[in-house]
Symmetry: C2
Subunit: 465 residues, 2 copies
C-alpha cells in the first residue's frame, strides 16, 4: 500500500552524527543489521524502514546528548518504546538514530497519598501495575499490548478501560520532554489541575515523537476498587449488541469495560485461547466499585441486555474467570491473525459518536463481506471505537487493492458520521492520507506548531504530516 | 500593583480598522466610553484598560470578518464573554477591538444519545443547564460565577465539581476557532476519543484568547444522577478539615464536591446569605450516584470526619437545603468582599498536590495573620486548590505592598511544593510574573507556538506572556 515512502537522506550529517555518537555511547550504540531492523516497524503490515543506528540511553541527560548531536548534524531522531504501535510510528524513512528507551525503566517515585507516580518512559504498563499492587493502586489505561508508558503517551493510547477512566490524555499530570534542540522542559507541575499557560502536556501526548522525546511521565493513579466483576452476554445480531452498548452508556452505568467481539472474533478467541464461548456476537464487560455497586451495575446491564434480546448473560466476581476472559481479549490481535496463517492484519481504528455505532459497525461488516475480505470486529464500543482487521494476502495485488479501498472507505464513513479515522492508534505513516479529510485546515495549524518547535524537522520525520 | 501595563498602540491601524468595522457592523459597533469601559476588566482589583471599540457579532462569519479586518491593520482583538475572569483577561493594554460574544448564545444541537451538545460561546453555564434539564442531562463544570462557556473554555475553568468531573479540558470534545488570520478551523471530530494528530482542542482550552477566538464548543454532558445528597461537617482546625479531605480522596470516595470554608468565610456567608452555620472551619460536600450509592458515600465520609474530630456532621437529600448551601458557596466572593466594604479582594489561586494541602493552607493562613491581612480561605480542596482573598485598601500603599508580597510568597510556596500558581483562574495579566517561575523553559515553547499561530501578536496582547 506504499505508505512507508522513503524520504531524502542527509548522508553527510548521518555519517558525522554516527561518528560522534559511537564515541560517546560505546556499547550502548548499535549499527548491526538485525538490531536496526528490529527497530524499524515490525508489528504491522507496513514495511520496515530501519534506522542507521540504535542507542540505549540510561538517563534524560543521555537522551539530551543524543538529540543535541543529531540537531547539530540535522539527523532524524526516532523514539522507540516496545514497538507495538500499528501505524509505522517507529520507521525511519529518512534514516537516522533510533533512541530505544527500554533501559530507562525506573519508577522514579510513587506518591501514594497524591494518587500519582513518576516513571521513566520505558516502564511498561504491566511492570507499573505490578509495582503498584502492594499499595492498593493501579494505572487504568490498558491498550492490550504490554506497551511502554512513553509509547502510550506518544500515541494518546487508550483501550478497554477508557470508557470509564479516559485515555492517556486524561491520566497524565506532567511530562519531562527533551526538545529538538536537546533542551529539557517540564510541561506542568504535579498539581491535579492548572490554568498556567498553554497545555503543553496535552500537546505532547499524541504527538508521536514529532515534537520531542518524553523522558519522564507523571501519571495519575486510581485506587484498586473494592470490588470488580465481569460479565458476558451473547447477541444474535451486531445491531442488538450495539443497542445494548448505547443504552448502557446513555443510562450512565459506569462500566469499566464494555467490549464487542463479533462471532468470528469469538471463534478466533476460542481457537487461540482454548475457550468455549458461544459463537455469537459477544459483549464482555467489567464493573468496578463497592460490593453493592458492582452488583447493582451488573443487574442493570442484565435488564438492558434482556430488553434487546441478549442471551446467556453471566456475571462473576471470581478473579480467575475474569482474568482468563480478559487475557483472551488481549490476545485477540494474534488470535485473529491465526485465522489465516501467513496473512497480514490491516487494523482499522475508527471511532464514531455512539448514536452511530450500530450503523457504522453494520456497514463496515457488510462492506467487508461484499468485498470478500475476512475480518473480525473487535471494539471498545463504549467509546464508539472499533477495529475491523481485514486479513490480507500481501502477495495478492487484487486483495491488497480491495483492502486499501476498504480502509479508505471506512475512514470516510466514520468521518462523515462525525467521527475520527483513529480512536487510539495514531496517524503514523498509515493514516496520513485521512488526517486532512478529517480535520481540514486544522492540519495547517499542527504543521505550523511542528515547524515552530522542530524547525529542522528532525523529530520522527514522515509521521503525521 | 501595576500589572495592567500599557503597551504601544498602533494608532494608524486602529483608526483604519475602526473605520471599516463601523461601516460593516453599524448598530452592532460601539465606541461610547461607558460601553468601552464595561469591557475593560471590572470584576477584580486590576485597573481597567478599555478597548477602542466593542462589537457584538451574531455568527462565526461575523467574527471571522472582524478578525480579518483587524489582521489587515494589525490591530488587537480581545474576546469577551461575561467579564467574570479575575486576572485582567479582557483588558486592552494596546487598545483594539473587543468582540463581545453575548449575542452568540444559541444551543446549536443537543445530541442526547451521544451525551454531547454543541453551543455558541456566549451561552452561559446556567442557561445551558436550564436547557438540558428536561432531557435529564447536565454540564458539570461550575466555576461559581454564571460565566459563558466560551470564557470558561478560554481559561480552562473548573470549580466545585472538578474533583469528580474534571475541568473544562476534560469536558470538551471539539472547538470551532477563528484563527488570527480570520480562517475558521474545527479542532476535532465529535468522536469521544481520537488520536488524530496534535490535540488542538486542549491547546486552545486555556489559551485565554491569545491563539484564536472560540466560536463553537462541543461539550460532553452527564446524565443527572439518580440521587444527590449534600453534607456538611465542622472542624476545630484547618488541619483536621484538610486531613478529612485527603482521606476522602485517598479512599476513593467519588465525591462530586468537597469545599472548604474557614471560620471567617463561614461568618461572611452567614452574614451575606442569612445562614446560621456554626462558625468553625467547614467542609461542604455533595455526593452523586444511586440512592444506595449516595448513602454509602455519605456514611463513609461521616466515619472519616469522626476519625479526625469533625463535629456537627449532617447530610440531606432535600434539594432545597442543598441549593441554599451551594448558593451561599457561589456568593462567597461577594460575601467575603462585604466583610470589608470599600476594599478590593485580591484572589489567589494556588493548587498543590493533596498531600501538601494541610501544610499549604496552614502556612497561607498564618502568614496572612502575621502580615495583618484580612482573608477568607475558600477552596476546591479535593483538587488541592484554594483561594486566599486578602481584602486590601487600595489607597493604603503599605497594605498594597504587603498584599503584593503575600501573593508572591504564596505562589512561590505552592510552586516549591510541586503545585501551580493558578489552579483555575488563568495567567491573564495578574499572574504573568509567576509563569516562568513555575514552568521555566516550557514558557519559551509556549511563546514559539504563539508566534507561529499569531505572528503579528494581535490576539489578546499582554496576556500570559
Amino acid at each position: 500500500m506504499g505508505l512507508a515512502v522513503d524520504l531524502p537522506r542527509n548522508e553527510v550529517g548521518i555519517a558525522a552524527a554516527l561518528g560522534v555518537l559511537k564515541q560517546q555511547f560505546g556499547e550502548a550504540f548499535h549499527t548491526g543489521q538485525s538490531m536496526r531492523e528490529q527497530h524499524g516497524h515490525t508489528t504491522t503490515w507496513i514495511e520496515t524502514q530501519a534506522p542507521d543506528a540504535v542507542i540505549f540511553p540510561k538517563s534524560t541527560q543521555e537522551v539530551s546528548d543524543i538529540v543535541k548531536t543529531c540537531a547539530t548534524h540535522k539527523v532524524p531522531v526516532i523514539a522507540y518504546g516496545t514497538g507495538t504501535s500499528l501505524e509505522g510510528h517507529v520507521n525511519a524513512p529518512a534514516g537516522g538514530v533510533c533512541i530505544d528507551l527500554t533501559e530507562m525503566n525506573s519508577v522514579v517515585a510513587v506518591n501514594a497519598e497524591d494518587l500519582d507516580c513518576v516513571v521513566q518512559p520505558g516502564v511498561t504498563r504491566e511492570q507499573m501495575n505490578l509495582d503498584l499492587r502492594d499499595q492498593g493502586l493501579f494505572f487504568p489505561i490498558d491498550p492490550g499490548a504490554n506497551a511502554s508508558l512513553g509509547g502510550m503517551a506518544s500515541t494518546r493510547a487508550s483501550g478497554t478501560n477508557a470508557v470509564r477512566y479516559g485515555t492517556m490524555k486524561d491520566n497524565i499530570l506532567s511530562l519531562e520532554v527533551v526538545l529538538p534542540s536537546g533542551e529539557v522542559i517540564r510541561t506542568a507541575s504535579r498539581a491535579k489541575k492548572s490554568s498556567a499557560g498553554y497545555d503543553l502536556t496535552r500537546l505532547m501526548i499524541g504527538s508521536e515523537g514529532t515534537l520531542g522525546i518524553i523522558t519522564e511521565i507523571t501519571l495519575k493513579l486510581q485506587g484498586i476498587p473494592e470490588a470488580m466483576s465481569s460479565a458476558r452476554c451473547s447477541f444474535e445480531t451486531i445491531d442488538a449488541a450495539c443497542q445494548a452498548v448505547m443504552m448502557t452508556i446513555q443510562y450512565g452505568i459506569p462500566v469499566a469495560r464494555i467490549e464487542l467481539l463479533d462471532s468470528l472474533a469469538v471463534k478466533a478467541a476460542n481457537d487461540y485461547s482454548k475457550l468455549d464461548l458461544p459463537e455469537h456476537h459477544l459483549l464482555l464487560l467489567e464493573f468496578h466499585g463497592s460490593e453493592t455497586g458492582v452488583a447493582e451495575q451488573a443487574e442493570m446491564f442484565g435488564h438492558i441486555a434482556e430488553e434487546v434480546g441478549g442471551t446467556g448473560f453471566e456475571w462473576t466476581q471470581k478473579a480467575e474467570d475474569r482474568n482468563k476472559l480478559w487475557q483472551a481479549r488481549h490476545d485477540m490481535y494474534w488470535a485473529a491473525l491465526a485465522l489465516r496463517p501467513g496473512a497480514k492484519g490491516i487494523s482499522t481504528d475508527v471511532c464514531v459518536p455512539i448514536s452511530r455505532l450500530a450503523e457504522c459497525v453494520t456497514l463496515a461488516k457488510d462492506k467487508a463481506d461484499e468485498l470478500g475480505l475476512i475480518s473480525t470486529v473487535v471494539g471498545h464500543v463504549g467509546d464508539g471505537n472499533f477495529h475491523m482487521l481485514p486479513l490480507v494476502d500481501m502477495d495478492n495485488p487484487d486483495e491488497v487493492a480491495a483492502a486499501q479501498g476498504y480502509v479508505s472507505w471506512l475512514n470516510d464513513v466514520a468521518i462523515e458520521m462525525g467521527g475520527t479515522c483513529t480512536g487510539e492508534h495514531g496517524i503514523g505513516q498509515g493514516k496520513k492520507p485521512y488526517l486532512r479529510k478529517e480535520l481540514g485546515g486544522a492540519v495547517d495549524v499542527m504543521a505550523a506548531i511542528k515547524a515552530a518547535i522542530d524547525p529542522d524537522g528532525i523529530m520522527n520525520p514522515g509521521k503525521i504530516f
